[in-house]
Symmetry: C2
Subunit: 452 residues, 2 copies
């Protein structure tokens, strides 16, 4: 888990005939040397890239579907390291409140009304937004996770999905015992799926007892899957865990046997330098959520030190109740800027590093070989950006524009696992009008409020 | 100057026949009570709003051009409180560097090659981006200001424009003496223009001698116009001024007679509580630039205290060399989030307050009666947002969506001073392909670098 292996390069004449050809653009491979291929082309077969190089050297591809990049940028689909997709239904329901009041007066009451249908349509809405915004892969923690997976399967995206479990009864599965059963079932059901993986997802150290956490860790080991958990989101959380268990969050998690290469932490705001070093040594993985942390006034992760330690890092939006969108371009922009502001250093992080968090480095967090990079053998998750627009003109440096000037609306085409999900800004795997209508209907049912 | 007066409401039967009718949307008036008009309509004549109310009560408007809001939101055009429009030509030229290195190695060398044509096309590119992104009014400080004004006049936007002056020779006007002449000429030339005003714009306290500043202040008084200046951008600037003049920036400016209702300050990062109080009492005005301050790691203004003091505040993007776009939606999002993060308080600022900075409050900074608000008698600067999209669904609270989820790409129509500048995302006052081509050509000439 975790390592992105380099697939062996096969001689072109032995490759199967490609199903899809993306051409007429500049390819940002996002590989480690940062190779950029002008006038490049990609050939795709069976969900993988079979050719990535100059158009002039591309083998013939009779019968392949052609996707014209129209002179734009071709890059790996973006990776959203942590969200709660179906919370699109609560987008803008309540903002600018203290966390406790926001949760108890607005979010929890709405969530008590959740149904499988609500989660399905909320997740479909999220998938529509993500495809439009260039995201092709995400990690999701929510209720009714089987219905999240149903939406992702339909939409054609790639995801790691888990049912959130905690000490109290859940609006989806009821008592905790069922939560473990649902989680295990999800991991088993999708173990051979080409795009979807299940994972074990206890909510947080402060909502899960030590025995729940130990059992979750054991289950992740038995099923050979990820253990994803919110951890170290605020100083308040740290204080709570120290008070209850006499140890800081990471030490508490370690005492329960959780700190190993299966551990995937969301937030990671309040880790100190020693803890960051320990996380790197244990090969743990992190999803940073700077916009959520800003909006909820939680604090800010020590990105500079995490990068120095070589910790595996991805970037995420968090759910739409707290961000309030799934636009990874906006998240990259905020990530690059706020970390500079926080330590008054304009040099960290660099734009290219931030784009790596949303592509190759994010792929390492997801632990799927060939994710987040464009090269022969890599997964065929690809987006094309329309750069012929005022706010992206002139173009000296593609990394700068993608991080500091582009938005989700600039994505022209989107491909996941070789399937075209959006062509010329038209969604191909769902009826968008139906998704918007159903999502509005479900939002009304959840909140009892009229929505436009 | 400064006060937004309420125009007297005229009986409808005495109004001239409207030229333009915007209908079929929800109107966010952005007036102080926060009135929202469902199924509203606007009538416009002679650059002003003659009716703002329910569609059902709208007087007949035979012959008026109809603009269909298609069920979206109708709100005042956004106001960008500070930019350097023509720096679009240096967008992404260099990023993630220390300020000094960025300026001396990249920006200044490019600016030495500036020509009136470069500034004109760079400003046209900026106008194209602003119109697309919903901005209808901005304040601009740059070189060759007459060519900025030429572009703004052509594009149909509203702006306050000034020629930047400083102690050293300028790439545009040469020696300082000419700078004063150009500035005075600009103010006089546009004094009766319906959309453009000139202002006096010394660059900063650290680049302008006391005698330059005193003369600039006197000229602003004689011409009855604004004095716009970068001030208190960094702690380093404060230290420099204290070292040179034995006083903090505001006290130094006050000693030169500048702290009065003509003073309009950009940045305002390093003012302490007493200084903020003093600025409010003197009826000075501020443009906050949080994204620029984040990206250049300059620090962050004390927005909470400024709001409490009743200081006149607007929000701006700064130039594209340092931000790197002119998207006021992104700026609002960052403003709302980063100020919460900075003081760990999720309640300040509220989304609606931030939208006010970019509309009514911003209009107060520009000091033009009826700017930034929709009501009878107000200036007819109006945008329409397309809300029927995944990332804006469902819609519980329009303020939340506009600040936290919308982007410039969601603007459908744009109107300034009653003229339709964009309809169905098509620019009407310029040939967009020509602007992009000319801007690329000028960018190559400026930087000697190949651009896409």
């Amino acid at each position: 888990m975790g390592a992105v292996e380099k697939a062996p390069v096969k001689p072109l004449e032995h490759l199967p005939l490609p199903e899809l050809c993306i051409h007429n653009g500049t390819i940002l491979t996002m590989d480690e040397p940062g190779a950029i291929i002008e006038d490049g082309a990609l050939l795709i077969h069976g969900g993988r890239i079979t050719y990535c190089g100059p158009r002039g050297q591309m083998p013939a591809c009779p019968g392949a579907r052609l996707l014209d990049a129209r002179g734009g940028l071709i890059l790996p689909g973006l990776i959203n390291g942590h969200t709660h997709a179906a919370m699109t239904l609560m987008r803008g329901l309540a903002d600018d409140l203290p966390l406790e009041q926001w949760l108890t007066e607005h979010i929890f009451p709405a969530e008590r009304n959740l149904t499988p249908e609500a989660v399905y349509w909320g997740s479909m809405l999220a998938c529509a937004e993500m495809i439009r915004g260039g995201t092709t892969c995400f990690c999701d923690m929510y209720l009714f996770a089987h219905d999240v997976a149903r939406a992702v399967d339909q939409a054609g995206l790639r995801a790691v999905i888990g049912e959130v479990i905690y000490d109290f009864d859940s609006p989806s599965y009821g008592p905790l015992e069922n939560g473990f059963a649902v989680s295990q079932d999800l991991v088993r059901q999708y173990q051979d799926h080409p795009r979807i993986k299940g994972a074990i997802m206890p909510h947080a150290l402060y909502t899960c007892s030590p025995s729940l956490l130990e059992r979750a860790g054991q289950m992740a080991q038995d099923l050979d899957c990820d253990l994803n958990i919110h951890m170290s989101e605020t100083l308040h959380e740290t204080n709570t865990i120290v008070e209850r268990h006499g140890a800081r969050p990471l030490a508490h998690a370690a005492s329960l046997g959780l700190v190993n290469q299966r551990l995937w932490i969301d937030h990671a705001v309040d880790f100190n330098a020693d803890e960051i070093e320990r996380l790197a040594q244990a090969d743990c993985r992190i999803s940073l959520l700077p916009e959520s942390n800003m909006k909820l006034a939680s604090g800010l992760a020590n990105l500079g030190r995490m990068l120095k330690c070589g910790l595996k890092l991805s970037l995420g939006t968090d759910g739409c109740a707290s961000n309030n969108d799934l636009d990874m371009f906006g998240e990259m922009d905020s990530c690059a800027k706020v970390h500079k502001a926080a330590v008054l250093n304009p040099q960290v992080p660099q734009a290219r590093t931030v784009l790596e968090l949303a592509t190759r480095r994010g792929g390492q967090v997801f632990g799927q070989p060939g994710l987040g990079v464009l090269r022969q053998g890599a997964l065929a998750d690809v987006i094309v950006m329309d750069m012929d627009q005022p706010h992206l003109t002139p173009l000296y440096n593609p990394y700068s524009h993608l991080v500091y000037a582009a938005s989700g609306a600039d994505v022209l085409h989107s491909v996941c696992h070789g399937q075209v999900l959006m062509e010329d800004r038209r969604l191909l795997t769902m009826d968008e009008d139906e998704v918007l209508a159903k999502a509005r209907e479900q939002a009304r049912l959840l909140t009892g409020r009229e929505v436009l």
